[in-house]
């Protein structure tokens, strides 16, 4: 048997979960998990438009396993979001209500985290069900050189060791 693992997005003061394992994560100017065109990112006349933070976390919803270790996240190493659009990431242990980012301090360009150099979310070992490891906090920026429209999708990988 194996653990049944989800990637959940957490929103609101209580951190309500939405399973996003195979559902689109839409960066926007609001704290919700809805995939719509409300509260869109806006191409600024000057400066940068920052999205609200996306708080993502591994959630073991069931299955049978002994322990999970070495939880990490990474991208494909190439920003395919388009000119003027950037994606940032960091690991955070404790949840706080997602807020609109105001800068990139504390974050790292998400595309520098690759399969050869991933972002560590937790060594573990983790057992039983529920949320495990640190949160993966991501936010997106739009600069003045961006084009309009919905950006192409990008590839986020969450990986872990399991026995």
């Amino acid at each position: 048997m194996a653990a049944t693992v989800q990637i959940v997005e957490k929103n609101g003061a209580g951190g309500a979960q939405t399973d996003k394992t195979s559902g689109t994560i839409r960066f926007k100017n609001a704290d919700n998990s809805t995939v719509d065109t409300s509260n869109p990112m806006v191409k600024p006349g000057a400066g940068t438009d920052y999205s609200f933070e996306k708080w993502l976390r591994m959630n073991v919803s069931g299955g049978t396993y002994t322990e999970i270790t070495n939880v990490k996240a990474y991208m494909d190493g190439s920003n395919g979001l388009g000119t003027g659009v950037a994606l940032y990431a960091k690991a955070v242990a404790s949840y706080t209500t997602p807020a609109e980012a105001t800068g990139t301090a504390g974050y790292t360009d998400a595309f520098t985290y690759t399969s050869g150099s991933p972002l560590t979310l937790g060594a573990g070992p983790y057992t039983s069900t529920g949320e495990k490891a640190d949160h993966l906090v991501m936010m997106l920026t739009v600069g003045t050189s961006a084009s309009g429209g919905i950006t192409p999708s990008e590839t986020l990988t969450l990986a872990w060791d399991e026995i």
Partner: protein
Amino acid sequence: MPVVHEITRDDLGNQIGTDGNITVSLIGEGRMFKRRAVKGAGSENAQEVCWLVAEIDGVRLYQNGNQIILTRQDMNP
């Protein structure tokens, strides 16, 4: 459903891992684990991947389907 390896021990304590098609046996000291991943998480193209990893003295064997890699590198799906 993706194939997730099963890891068991035989009567001699050796670690046996299989995806139902290929079986990897780790005889004696060492460790065996599954390296799992969700690739494309947060998109409709999400795909689960499972590698079987057997390690002895820092040398790792990664098995995924018909592909086997023997290396000292820490590799991820």
